[in-house]
């Protein structure tokens, strides 16, 4: 589904990603772990198409199509979703109206008519329930005054509504207490199927107890230096990143 080859990208002539290779297939969950500043969030942003970052080398393809030149919304229409580490507050636009706009823009891009209001309402109710969201929550301004947990739940709610093929969860666990983490992870797991894929970007192994990855990759200084299965995440939790740094040096 997602194929990244020798990806180099940066900002203001500073290279952050220094040759990433990654392949994610339908039905898989991949975790990208790494210390602060290793380039995890940059990788997420580059896949989603943030214009600030310049891709200097390599390629990103999604379902066998090169997407490097596409705008973020075009990538979204193809089925890529990025859950933000720090979701943006948009006063004056309610959660419901925002998601309606997003869904209908996606449908428009596919040449479809707007989703009928009744169908939309039904879907909103279902997905809100999935994430144990209060009805009142839906009429509030998007993310405005939301707690950390509410913001993340709202991100996964939007993911549930948009039904992406590839969901990138950028530090979705940060700022969550254990209950919120469980709700969010539970929501993600229910959305999983053999046709979609998830890329989990995280600092800690904690989230991976709930969203169990098929593969774990360690990102260090803009490169994936080690890949393995979920056991690698436990090892990182226990031993930190220094031993990998040593290993990399030796190699």
């Amino acid at each position: 589904m997602l194929q990244i080859k020798n990806l180099h990208a940066g900002i203001d002539n500073e290279e952050i990603l220094k040759g990433i290779n990654l392949e994610v297939k339908a039905g898989e969950i991949h975790a990208i772990m790494g210390p602060n500043g290793s380039g995890k969030s940059t990788l997420a942003s580059v896949i989603a198409g943030k214009e600030e970052f310049e891709v200097t080398q390599g390629s990103i393809s999604f379902e066998h199509e090169d997407i490097a030149a596409l705008a973020p919304e075009e990538r979204a229409h193809k089925g890529i979703f990025l859950s933000f580490q720090y979701p943006i507050e948009i006063p004056g636009v309610s959660v419901t109206n925002f998601i309606k706009t997003a869904i209908n823009e996606g449908r428009k891009a596919k040449g479809m008519v707007d989703m009928p209001a009744s169908e939309m309402l039904k879907m909103i109710r279902e997905k809100a329930e999935l994430l144990e969201m209060d009805r009142k929550f839906l009429s509030r301004s998007l993310n405005e005054g939301f707690s950390g947990g509410e913001k993340k739940r709202n991100e996964i709610f939007q993911m549930a509504m948009l039904e992406p093929k590839l969901a990138i969860l950028d530090e979705t666990d940060s700022g969550l207490d254990i209950d919120a983490l469980r709700i969010v992870a539970n929501g993600v797991n229910k959305l999983r199927n053999d046709k979609n894929a998830i890329l989990v970007i995280t600092h800690y192994q904690r989230l991976l107890d709930y969203i169990v990855p098929d593969f774990v990759h360690v990102l260090l200084d803009g490169k994936i230096v080690k890949s393995g299965t979920k056991e690698l995440a436990y090892e990182l939790e226990e031993r930190g990143y220094d031993w990998i740094k040593e290993e990399v040096k030796i190699v």
Binding site: S45, A48, G49, K50, E51, E52, A71, P72, E73, R75, A76, H77, I80, F81, L82, F84, P87, I88, I90, P91, G92, V93, S94, T96, N97, F98, I99, K100, T101, A102, I103, N104, E105, G106, A109, D114, S141, Q158, L162
Partner: protein
């Protein structure tokens, strides 16, 4: 002949007609002298540095509308808040239109200044209030000298007017260029309440220059909500000088929505004379092309324990120019004043300009005054966020602008008006309101 000379000459031609034996006559003579001395403001004056009038003054205006013009209601219905029942005071080319108006003398006076100036039964009110809070700057003086027609609204004690009052000034374009000087007087007596909507609307692209002066008095515990809708076409210019004198415990709230016009200048002046007053000044400006909107606000805290809140937002596209000058004076006696001022601006294009200046003069030592001003572009991160949800960049921009501007509407108390303005803002910005906001 310059407009100034033309006006002065015409004043002396008509001076004897108007109330020659009343005290108003003396006021007028003083006022025309004041205008003659000062002339129209120029860019050399600090307060007019960014707002040049010369292009507007060049037109050959008709200063006295000659005949009564008529308009069909169906042609102008959209300018009224027709969804609800309102009182209406309507002028066409400066002349009262009884056909389009709906005035009243039932318990409250919602009628005409011309009547109030000439009939004995209004004499006391005129003597007590007319030109009592308006200042003698050149444009206000010019208006005072010619003041003849406008809205006259007096709400007696303990009276709440259930219907909003609309004051609408239409210009038909029957004159090649028209100069208008409406003068409004509004007195809200003790414990009374009123809601007023004012708009100036030109119906053709012939130039119109309006120099309007409004005096508002809120007596003890009275309250007023005043909405100015400035969405005129791009050949019309407006100088609006509004003066409010607030007595103890009164509440005055003025919203100014500036979307249209060639040049719009708002001089909005609040004088808090009594204790425990509350003043609210809010504005949304969304302009483009070569439009200019200038907000000069003054809140003069004279008495202790008063509050004032100012929140002005501006979105500037094209080569448009915005000016915000917010002056707050806290006098020595005005202890425990709580004054707040906020001015946020977004420049959409490289050629748009905003000149924003807070001006605080504080002479009391136990006060809370805060002000903030921002000038920025749209938040890139917020745009990216929306784009990742599949919302196009243009739509994302529009949504962000809409969100930025529309939170000022929270305090609009007439739901139908709020819906109207929401739509106006959405139209201006080009946001697709496929949903109910």
């Amino acid at each position: 002949m310059s407009l100034k000379d033309k006006l002065i000459t015409s004043y002396f031609a008509v001076e004897d007609y108007i109330d020659a034996d009343s005290h108003i006559h003396d006021l007028r003579n003083t006022a025309i002298k004041s205008f003659e001395e000062k002339g129209f403001p120029t860019k050399k004056e600090e307060a007019w540095k960014y707002t040049p009038l010369n292009a507007i003054l060049k037109e050959d205006y008709c200063v006295f509308p000659k005949k009564e013009n008529t308009i069909e209601f169906k042609d102008v219905k959209k300018y009224f808040l027709h969804e609800i029942d309102t009182y209406k005071i309507v002028f066409i080319d400066g002349i009262y239109s009884s056909f389009l108006s709906e005035t009243t003398h039932d318990k409250v006076d919602v009628c005409l200044l011309s009547a109030a100036l000439s009939k004995p039964k209004y004499k006391a009110v005129i003597e007590n209030y007319f030109n009592k809070v308006a200042k003698d700057d050149s444009l206000t003086s010019l208006n005072t000298a010619f003041a003849k027609e406008g809205a006259y609204i007096v709400i007696p004690k303990h009276r709440e007017v259930e219907k909003p009052i609309e004051i609408i000034n239409f210009a038909t374009g029957n004159e090649a260029a028209l100069f208008l000087q409406p003068r409004n007087l509004i007195v809200v007596e003790e414990n009374a309440h009123v809601q007023i909507i004012e708009r100036h609307q030109s119906l053709t692209s012939n130039p119109v220059f309006t120099n309007v002066v409004t005096e508002i008095f809120t007596e003890k515990n009275a309250s007023i909500d005043y909405y100015k809708i400035q969405n005129d076409n791009h050949s019309a210019s407006l100088i609006d000088s509004t003066f409010l004198l607030q007595e103890q415990g009164s509440n005055a709230c003025v919203h100014t929505f500036s979307f249209g016009g060639k040049l719009t200048r708002n001089n909005l002046n609040f004088y808090q004379k009594g204790e425990r007053n509350n003043s609210t000044l809010k504005g949304v400006t969304i302009i483009e092309e070569n439009q200019l909107v200038d907000h000069h606000t003054l809140v003069n805290h004279i008495a202790p324990n008063c509050e004032s809140h100012q929140n002005y937002k501006g979105i500037f596209a094209g080569k448009s120019t915005g000016v915000f000058n917010g002056k707050i004076i806290v006098e020595k006696e005005a202890q425990k004043t709580d004054a707040f001022q906020q001015n946020n601006n977004i420049l959409i294009t490289d050629n748009a300009t905003i000149n924003s200046k807070p001006q605080l003069e504080i002479f009391a030592d136990d006060v809370k005054c805060s002000h903030g001003c921002t000038i920025g572009q749209l938040d890139e991160e917020a745009m990216f966020y929306m784009q990742t949800r599949g919302i196009h960049k243009k739509e994302a921009q529009a949504l962000l602008m809409f969100a930025f501007a529309s939170n000022v509407l929270e305090s609009v108390k007439i739901p139908e008006l709020k819906a109207r303005i929401t739509k106006l803002i959405a139209n201006k910005i080009g946001v697709d309101l496929g949903f109910n906001l």
